[in-house]
Amino acid sequence: MTDNEIRDLIAQQLEYACLTVMRDKQLTAAFLEGRRDIALGELEMDSLAEMELCIAIEIHTGVSIVPNDLQSIGTLNSLVDVVRKGMQ
């Protein structure tokens, strides 16, 4: 899976979770193109959204992330790095 595909996966999942930030199409597009990073705290994810994001990542990439660890990862770009490294 390429970085772009990982970004797509994350964006789709966040969109499904109806997160307000992801309704900003320009912001989402910038993240997908790697031009903009987004702090996970900025997303205001509830525990359900965190769980669903971790499930989606695990099932499509095989990389397990504990939902409680998400905030310590910091940003979506860092999350992409974690997933990429986990897949290697």
Partner: protein
């Protein structure tokens, strides 16, 4: 308790009362009950000459269904035990089964089916068919029928039924008396073998289809089949065939796996209103049957058959009221009380005089049973219980989906993650994300987190979907459609 007569005695009664009534019908031959009795007597004599005595355990490797039925009844009359070593099984599996039941002889049409360490008996069809001598049979039925059933712990379980247990199960199928029964699954499959015996017990007519006869409709009409028993897969295929409506007068029976309401509706619209969906287990025979007029959106398997006692219980074995989902346990005449040579599995499934088939479901206030799936298949996602059947029902309600199979993927963090594979109707077009949206809409948190579309789901020889074989398809490296 008074013992039922054996099958030989029952066969003799039918031959005495209705000697000209058709017992067996094939594309080319009709055997009356008189003919069948003579063949079974001849088989009995032949097997005795080969050294078969009461207590001997014999393996049957006969794909000719009439030969198989005659040999089965002859061995019962001889008081011998028997197990099917099917021609479609691997030599390794046949050898393993032979070893487990301490087989002494194998009866087959060809010596290609010899099993090391056992005596081989080639079935001489002409000799069996021509003998007409009357033979003495044991005063009390004492034969054993070994039936294999898929285990949940890797190896298959074997149930050893005494002849009178099969007879007791047969009483739940007395309606076969007036039927001409065609089953598409070969008699080499245990479920088919048992129903063929139930039909003999009832005095009905067993119709056998030659393997090369591909048009079920034409064959059924030609041989006046009144009851057609087929797998869910074959029933769906039948509904799609151009001449299916010509079977409008036939009773169509299916089961073995969950039959969703839309599939039932399709069969009733395209083939016959006389649709019966059964719930059964190898360990006890028939349990419940949904009859015409009883099919609804909950995909009920109908009311319990005569003399079947069934309860829904919680994890502490406490009985639950109607409508509550729990584990099914039951007892019925002719039920097994243990597995042969599997004490651990016996202790798990047979407890306090009940059999626990490992299914979950609920009894409705109107007495109808709804089976939701295997307890072992229950998906537990972060503590949330999800029945694969509910996922499958929702996916199959999408107009593009023909069949769905839901399963779980193990997760260190979440326990189990539900996923699903689907097969589409011919020429149907749909994307994975459309299916995911449909599932989320109806199932929310219970929806499968990944869906794949496959040209054909893996099935066993009886058409049952093999979920375990689907798991590798969900490896993260696999790309989605």
């Amino acid at each position: 308790m008074q013992l039922s007569p054996g099958f030989f005695e029952r066969l003799s009664q039918h031959a005495d009362r209705r000697p000209q009534h058709a017992a067996v019908v094939t594309a080319s031959v009709t055997l009356t009950y008189g003919d069948l009795l003579r063949r079974v007597q001849a088989g009995l004599e032949y097997f005795r000459r080969q050294g078969i005595v009461p207590g001997t355990v014999v393996g049957l490797t006969l794909d000719d269904e009439v030969d198989h039925l005659v040999a089965t009844l002859s061995l019962m009359a001889a008081g011998a035990g028997q197990i099917t070593l099917a021609t479609h099984d691997t030599p390794m599996l046949r050898a393993r089964l032979a070893q487990r039941v301490h087989l002494s002889h194998v009866v087959a049409a060809s010596d290609a089916f010899r099993v090391a360490g056992t005596a081989f008996i080639q079935l001489p069809r002409q000799e069996v068919a021509s003998s007409t001598l009357a033979a003495e049979v044991p005063a009390e039925p004492g034969s054993t029928l070994f039936l294999k059933t898929s285990g949940t712990t890797g190896d298959m379980n074997i149930v050893a039924f005494r002849e009178e247990q099969i007879a007791a199960q047969s009483h739940r199928h007395d309606d076969y008396a007036g039927e001409r029964l065609l089953r598409l699954a070969s008699i080499e499959h245990n479920n088919s073998k048992r129903h063929r015996l139930y039909c003999v017990w009832a005095g009905g007519t067993n119709v056998f289809r030659p393997r090369e006869a591909t048009d079920i409709v034409d064959f059924s009409l030609r041989h006046a089949v009144s009851c057609l028993d087929i797998s869910r897969m074959h029933a769906s295929d039948l509904a799609a065939s151009h001449n299916a409506r010509e079977l409008a007068g036939v009773k169509l029976r299916t089961g073995g796996s969950e039959v969703p309401f839309d599939v039932r509706r399709c069969i009733q619209d395209q083939v016959t209103q006389n649709l019966y969906v059964r719930y059964a287990a190898t360990e006890c025979g028939g349990i419940a049957m949904a009859r015409p007029g009883e099919h609804d959106a909950e995909a009920t398997v109908g009311r319990l058959l005569d003399e079947v006692e069934l309860q829904i219980v919680d994890a502490d074995d406490k009985t639950l009221p109607p409508g509550s989902v729990g584990e099914i346990r039951l007892r019925a005449p002719g039920m097994a009380t243990e597995y042969f040579d599997s004490p651990d599995e016996s202790a798990r499934r047979f407890r306090h005089n009940w059999f626990y088939p490992g299914d979950v479901g609920y009894l409705r206030a109107d007495g109808q049973l709804v089976v939701q799936g295997r307890k072992d298949d229950m998906i537990i996602l972060n503590g949330l219980n999800i029945c694969p059947a509910e996922i499958e029902r929702v996916l199959e309600s999408h107009p593009a989906v023909s069949v769905a199979a839901a399963l779980s993927l193990p997760s260190r963090i979440h326990g189990q993650i539900p996923v699903a594979a689907v097969e589409l109707h011919p020429n149907a077009v749909v994307t994975v994300s459309e299916l995911q949206q449909h599932a989320r809409q109806h199932l929310a948190l219970r929806s499968p987190r990944r869906i794949i579309i496959m040209a054909r789901l893996p099935r066993n020889s009886q058409g049952k979907i093999m979920r375990r074989e689907l798991r590798p398809c969900f490896q993260p490296s696999k790309s989605e459609t």
